[in-house]
Every structure is written in structure tokens, then in C-alpha cells.
């Protein structure tokens, strides 16, 4: 906001000087302060504005105006995507989504049974919504989670009267991603809290060394190699006949991996607390676990909500790495759908949809975490 502009407008508009000068508040003030506050920023604003509008228009052209929403069926009963490949000007071929969406979402799960994974996705979303509300932060929530886990297991596997059995290698798509991410983080988080506490325990050197070893070993290898170990090497060491299924092994690998990362985040929070908090709790005679549960963790975890959610979001997306050990998560089913010869040359649309699904979940997490920070921040500043 330039001085001369303020001088020119200010005194005339507000002789009483009880309000800020006009042009420094409201939309105009915001624009001036943020986009046009010098010739340099004005230039940047104009150039970027031009590029954004141009790109935006081109995208709308491609995605909406020239889009192909359906394709004819050829004599073999297959969709004929020739018009998608030969379209000029190029347009998005959304017909591929219409044809493939059930495969992308549910993989090779028997077609007529796909309401089951669909219902599981619904249960997951409901579970997230319930867990997000602080009204439900009570002991009952653990039972709700246990119940949901059971129902999801029964729905996916079947094998009970009325539900036919579906082996795990037929599962795929969004339920796999949600299972890996949800139960991965739900188990990794408590594990990480214990490890972080253990790593800081001064009284029990053995526990501390064990926790340090765990964190450093797991952090030192890539998730991919851990997944390989879980899927290829682990069965070699197991007695014949005792071989937990591949998904479970991948799940355990993800839990261990996420646990190590989250432990370091939590430890950061523990270290940020002033020593006086520990001493005050000690002086009042609280036991170690009372101190941890009532004094230390509530404060430490609040401090690390942003990096915690950062790690959560990272792991939600990292579950897609299970594709290399042949588990069909959402990204894998998308890639398989793209490989269909019928839809050769059509892939961008599928990536956009996959991106949108991932984005919806990740954005919800980040939005929620900001709400949580705000809620915890109220009236509790030190």
C-alpha cells in the first residue's frame, strides 16, 4: 500500500480518523496489499493471472466442451473407443469411466457381489465421520471400531450363510486402499506413542534401546523393501501350513513402517514440552502412566497435529506401493483398467478420477486437522 495513495484518499474520506483510510480495507484493500503492492508484484500478478486463465480455459475445453461421454458398442458387444482416439480437437473420453468405474473401485470382486465392498466403503466413511466428532471420543469408540472391523471382514470374505466366500486375492480397488490406510494408521498410531515414550524413558535402558533400534532399523529401509520382505521372505521362515495371507502381511509391514515415522513425530512433541510439566506431575505424585496419559500426551499430541496429519496423509498415499507385491489397491486397479486393449490410448481420464478420489480423502484429513488445531487452540494459549 503506497503512502501517496493513502494520503490522497484517507483524509477526505474519513475526517474523523476513527476508521482506517478507505482503500486499505475490504476487497480493494486486500487486492492492493497482496497482488498490486508494487510494479513488480503487479507484473507477476498479471503474468500468472494470464497463465492460469489460459490453462483453465484449455482444461474446460478438454474436460467438458469437447468431452466424449459415451461410445458406440461394436458387433462384439465391446465399446468402440475409436472416436476417442481420433477426436479432433482432443477431448476427454469420460466414457472409459462409465465403462470401467466398477472395476476401478472394486477390482476383480465378483460383479454381482460388488455391493459388499461398496458397503464397506460406506462403513469406512461413517467410521471416519464418527471418529472425527469429539462427542464420540469415549471408550465406546474402541468397540465401534472393533465392530466395524468385524463387519468389514465378514462383508469382504463372506463364507457365512447368505454371503458367498470371496478369496482375498479377488479383492481390489478402493476397499483395499481404505483397509490398508485405516487399519495401518489406527494400529501404527498407538504403537508410535508407546515407542516414543519408550525412547524417552530414562529408567528402563533396555526399553529405550529396543525402541531406538526399531525406529532406526525401520526408517533405514524403504517401504518397498519392507513390503517385499513381508510378501516374499516372511513366508520362507514360517512353518508349512501357517501362512497369513498376503494382505495381512502387507498390512503389518505398513503398520511397522508408519509406526516408526509417527514415533519420531510424537517424540518431537514430547521434547517440546517444558520440563516443568513433568516435574509438576511428579511432585503431585502421579504415576508414570497417569503422567503420560493425563499431562504429557494431551499436550504433546496437540503440538504435533500438523506433522502428524502430514504423516497420515503421506501414508494414505503410500499404501499404493502395495501394487508392486501384487495387491490390487485403487491405483493398481486403475492401471489394470488402463491396460484394457479396448481403451488403448485412454488413460489421463482414469488418472484424473484416481487423483480426485485420493484428493477427497487427503483434503478431508487436512481440513479436519486444521479444525482440530483451531478447537484446541481456543483459550488455551500459554
Amino acid at each position: 500500500m503506497s503512502q501517496s495513495a493513502a494520503a490522497a484518499v484517507g483524509p477526505v474520506a474519513t475526517p474523523a480518523r476513527e476508521q482506517p483510510p478507505a482503500g486499505t480495507v475490504g476487497v480493494i484493500g486486500w487486492l492492493r496489499a497482496n497482488l498490486f503492492n508494487s510494479w513488480w508484484s503487479t507484473a507477476v500478478t498479471l503474468v500468472l493471472g494470464y497463465l492460469i486463465i489460459r490453462w483453465g480455459l484449455a482444461f474446460i475445453d478438454w474436460a467438458l466442451l469437447h468431452a466424449i461421454w459415451s461410445v458406440p458398442i461394436n458387433e462384439n458387444g465391446q465399446p468402440d473407443a475409436t472416436i476417442c482416439r481420433s477426436a479432433d480437437p482432443a477431448g476427454a473420453c469420460w466414457a472409459v469411466i462409465g465403462d470401467k468405474w466398477r472395476f476401478i473401485l472394486f477390482g476383480r470382486f465378483p460383479y454381482d457381489q460388488q455391493w459388499r465392498p461398496g458397503l464397506c466403503v460406506g462403513i469406512f466413511v461413517a467410521l471416519f465421520a464418527i471418529s472425527a466428532s469429539r462427542r464420540f471420543w469415549r471408550r465406546e469408540l474402541a468397540w465401534i471400531w472393533l465392530g466395524a472391523l468385524t463387519v468389514i471382514g465378514v462383508l469382504m470374505w463372506g463364507g457365512v450363510p447368505g454371503l458367498e466366500f470371496v478369496p482375498q486375492d479377488m479383492w481390489g480397488g478402493l476397499p483395499i486402499t481404505l483397509i490398508l490406510a485405516t487399519f495401518g494408521l489406527a494400529f501404527a498410531f498407538p504403537l508410535s506413542v508407546l515407542v516414543a515414550l519408550g525412547r524417552r524413558s530414562t529408567g528402563l535402558p533396555a526399553v529405550r534401546i529396543l525402541c531406538v533400534l526399531y525406529v532406526e532399523l525401520i526408517r533405514g529401509v524403504p517401504l518397498i523393501s519392507l513390503l517385499f520382505m513381508a510378501s516374499v521372505m516372511f513366508p520362507l521362515f514360517m512353518p508349512v501350513g501357517l501362512n497369513p495371507d498376503k494382505l495381512l502381511r502387507a498390512q503389518v509391514a505398513i503398520i511397522l513402517f508408519a509406526g516408526a515415522y509417527l514415533a519420531e513425530v510424537v517424540r518431537g512433541g514430547l521434547q517440546a514440552l517444558p520440563r516443568g510439566q513433568y516435574e509438576a506431575a511428579d511432585a503431585l505424585g502421579l504415576s508414570y502412566w497417569q503422567k503420560a496419559w493425563l499431562i504429557i500426551l494431551p499436550q504433546a499430541l496437540r503440538l504435533v497435529i500438523p506433522p502428524l496429519v502430514n504423516t497420515f496423509i503421506g501414508f494414505f498415499k503410500d499404501t499404493s506401493l502395495v501394487l508392486i507385491i501384487g495387491i490390487f489397491d485403487l491405483l493398481s486397479t486403475g492401471k489394470v483398467a488402463m491396460a484394457d486393449p479396448v481403451w488403448q490410448g485412454v488413460g489421463t481420464e482414469i488418472y484424473i478420477i484416481l487423483g480426485a478420489i485420493y484428493f477427497a480423502f487427503c483434503f478431508a484429513m487436512s481440513k479436519y486437522s486444521r479444525g482440530l488445531e483451531h478447537e484446541f487452540g481456543r483459550g488455551r494459549s500459554r
Binding site: 516443568g276 509438576a280 511428579d282 511432585a283 505424585g285 500459554r382
Partner: protein, 258 residues
């Protein structure tokens, strides 16, 4: 300084705190040198001395926030050792007030006060809250019960900290420079609270530079320098008739500062 001679006449029962030839090192730094001190039940002892003299370390050894390496510390008849159960017993009977308040910022004033009674003493919540309100009234801030510590002034926070310690119904109260972090206009309200507490007969050990407070309530003043107890006497004798050059120097510095 013979401990027996300076023991207050009020202490007819067994001693509340005994420190016997206590030594402590931080690495190679000898921070407590043969510290011996006996505090009788109901006695009020003020500990003063220049910074770095070991007075805070000594008081923190009494509830084992710091561990001593040599000598014995007996609190309320229980010796402080590595035995955790003995430590729990002692911490239940000893309240502590810190220089930096150390209230729990994520809990309300009332929750700060009821936490330990509910979880450590297993007092029913309603009863703990009634008690806490009583003590908050005694420190004259019952109206702040629902607020968070961050919304209170320093003096109010320190009074909450005193109430929080009292809610455990301790036999002994330790004060570690309770007014040093306060703005001058808030020191008085905290000292008034402590004077009231002293007059109720609480056993108190208080590290402070507030000589007016010492003169008014202390049965005995202990002067520490470089990790050892140099003089120990009644406040009147201490201030009017200092025996050692170190105390004379310290007093002249303190008084010049005031």
C-alpha cells in the same frame, strides 16, 4: 551450626524433614556439600542465598525431583531411596510450588486442582471439586475456576499452583522461589497467601529472597552459599547479627537491591 539448638520450640513431634550429610554432584560440580538440616513439624524454614548456591537443588531433593548421591534424606519418617513406593508415599505428603508455576495449560483451573486428588488419592470427583473450590476460595480466586491457566495473570497462576498443591492435603509444603517470576505488583498477593498458610500451622520450606516474608513468618532462616549451609538462625539474629562475611555480603547486596 548445631541443628538441635536451632530447632524450633514449636516442633514437639518428630521431625518432618531430616537431611543428613547430603552430597550431590552434577558431573564434577559439587552442588551440595554435607548439607544437614532438620525441619520440625509445623516449622517454617526460609532458605536464602546467592544464585547457584544449591538452595533450589536442596529443596528439589526433598521430593526427589533431584536425586542425592550421598547422605540420608528422611521425610515424614520415610527415607528417600530408589524404592518407588516410598517415593509415592512421600510425594503424596509433600506439596511443591515452582518458580514458573507449572500449571497444566490444557486443563482448567478446577481440573488442575482436582486431577491429583482424583487420580492419586482416589477421591470421588464431586468431593474433589468441593475441596478444590474451598482451596480456590482460600487463595481468593474461586471465580476463575472454569478458566484456563493461560487466561490468568502470573500472580493468579501462582495462587492456583498453591491451591493445587494444597488439594492433596500435604503435610509439608515446599516453595521454590515462588515470587521470582512475578511482576512486582503481583508479589504481594502471593506472599499474603503464603503468610496465611504459614499461620495455619503448615510445615513449610521456602526458597525465597523476600526478607520481609522471612522476618514475618519464618521460625528459622538458612543461608546457603556454594552448596553448603553457612548459617542457620532465627530471622532476627540472622539479619541483625550475621556471623560470617559471606552472609554480611549477601545481606548488603539484597538490601541494596530493595
Amino acid at each position: 551450626m548445631s541443628q538441635a539448638a536451632t530447632l524450633s520450640r514449636r516442633s514437639n513431634a518428630g521431625p518432618a524433614i531430616v537431611l543428613d550429610q547430603v552430597n550431590k554432584w552434577y558431573g564434577s560440580l559439587h552442588v551440595l556439600r554435607d548439607v544437614s538440616l532438620t525441619v520440625g513439624e509445623g516449622e517454617r524454614v526460609v532458605v536464602c542465598g546467592p544464585s547457584g548456591s544449591g538452595k533450589s537443588t536442596m529443596i528439589r531433593c526433598i521430593n526427589r525431583l533431584e536425586t542425592h548421591q550421598e547422605g540420608r534424606i528422611v521425610v515424614d519418617g520415610t527415607e528417600l531411596t530408589d524404592d518407588l513406593r516410598a517415593l509415592d508415599t512421600i510425594r503424596r505428603e509433600v506439596g511443591m510450588v515452582f518458580q514458573s508455576f507449572n500449571l497444566f495449560p490444557h486443563l482448567t483451573v478446577l481440573e488442575n486442582c482436582t486431577l491429583a486428588p482424583i487420580w492419586v488419592r482416589k477421591t470421588p470427583r464431586a468431593e474433589a471439586e468441593d475441596q478444590a473450590m474451598d482451596y480456590l476460595r482460600r487463595v481468593k480466586i474461586p471465580e476463575q475456576a472454569k478458566k484456563y491457566p493461560g487466561q490468568l495473570s502470573g500472580g493468579q497462576q501462582q495462587r492456583v499452583a498453591i491451591a493445587r498443591a494444597l488439594c492433596m492435603k500435604p503435610k509439608i509444603m515446599l516453595f521454590d522461589e515462588p515470587t521470582s517470576a512475578l511482576d512486582p505488583e503481583m508479589i504481594k498477593e502471593v506472599l499474603d497467601t503464603m503468610i496465611e498458610l504459614a499461620e495455619s500451622g503448615m510445615t513449610m520450606v521456602c526458597v525465597t529472597h523476600e526478607m520481609g516474608f522471612a522476618q514475618r513468618v519464618a521460625d528459622r532462616v538458612v543461608f546457603m552459599d556454594r552448596g553448603e549451609i553457612v548459617e542457620s538462625n532465627s530471622p532476627r539474629e540472622m539479619f541483625q547479627n550475621p556471623q560470617t562475611d559471606r552472609l554480611k555480603l549477601f545481606l548488603s547486596q539484597i538490601l541494596r537491591g530493595h
